[in-house]
Amino acid sequence: MLEPSLDLYGATFDAVDGILHELLAKSRARYALIIDRKGFVLMHARAMWAPKPPSLDSFATLVASNYAANRAIANLFGEEGFKETVQQGSEVGTYLEELGTEALLVTVFDSGAQLGRVKLATKHAADAIRVALEATPEEAPVIEFNQDWSSSTAALLDGLFGTRKP
């Protein structure tokens, strides 16, 4: 089965992209990402002044795993989850909001941003994203998984791992 975690395409994509950039402007954070709970990056935005981010794949995987682990810890104490997930280093911190059951909104900020402002802007952005996602979705683009697609992926697998032995 193939499913998008969130319906992020067309007008919804543009709306959410705008929300992420507004979040960065209001909070003075470096990056804002939407990741799904499996650890895949769905969307991201970077402040103009921010340094190049680290590997987003690694970051998203670690955030999603950390979120899942924290939730498991909360479950041990009879809680469904923790209300806030904030991490603060001496220079950089992260703040996380849930987006429905499938995705997470993560804001990465540095010591130049105020935590309170980051939290508030992220909560507002999460609300706005939820509203954008609830709007009538456009029809999802169609991808053809036909014989051509199968042959092409088989050729790519051969290229990466070598030809399959009979």
């Binding site: 089965m1 990056v41 690694s58 697609w149």
Partner: protein, 196 residues
């Protein structure tokens, strides 16, 4: 369940290396990382203890390339094999698309192989999945051990009905590492094509 990202034009799959402690799951990922060209891989992340035993997981993203304008990507994970890390194993299995079960050829680990497979089945059940629902292959690793059990005997314990593809390997020497990955990736892609 595979994920499509329309905005980034990506199709993503999650492959998990499962098996008993010290069977060579992390070694597989390290070898894949070493052998795959730089443009097809991302950073490898390992959450390990000080003595290099997997604590939470290892992670390696691979890019297969573009088909019909969409990038096809595989995220490879290992689970911690040690028995007491079951909570972590359960978390890693969430939304899995394919499994490579890494078995150990040592006679002393035959029972651990069987126990780990049973544990895999139990943990999949938590996500309402049966092993037969998930594309999977078996890699019988450490074939270079002087007292390695006969591969057929190990298969008889793990897959008596002979339904899964089985690959013999010496992962530390990069023998039999790509083959099971290629096989499980093919199964995952075939499953997607059938369901779409």
């Amino acid at each position: 369940m595979s994920t499509i990202n329309f905005s980034a034009r990506e199709i993503n799959f999650k492959i998990v290396y499962y098996g008993p402690g010290l069977s060579g799951k992390t070694t597989n990922l390290k070898q894949i990382y070493d052998q795959v060209p730089a443009e097809s891989k991302g950073e490898m992340v390992s959450l390990a203890t000080e003595d290099e035993r997997t604590l939470f997981f290892d992670f390696l993203p691979l890019d297969l390339g573009k088909v019909n304008g969409f990038k096809t990507r595989f995220h490879l994970y290992t689970v911690p094999g040690q028995v007491f890390y079951n909570s972590s194993r359960k978390l890693i299995l969430r939304s899995v698309d394919g499994v490579v079960f890494v078995a150990d050829s040592s006679p002393a680990r035959l029972r651990a192989n069987a126990e780990s497979l049973r544990n895999l089945r139990e943990n999949l059940k938590e996500y309402n999945l049966r092993l037969s629902d998930v594309p999977h292959v078996i890699q019988i690793n450490k074939r270079d051990l002087p007292d390695a059990l006969d591969a057929d005997m190990i298969r008889q314990v793990l897959d008596p009905e002979r339904k899964a593809q089985v690959f013999e390997a010496v992962a530390s020497e990069f023998q039999g590492v790509f083959e099971p990955l290629r096989a499980v990736a093919t199964l995952v892609l075939e499953k997607l094509a059938q369901k779409a």
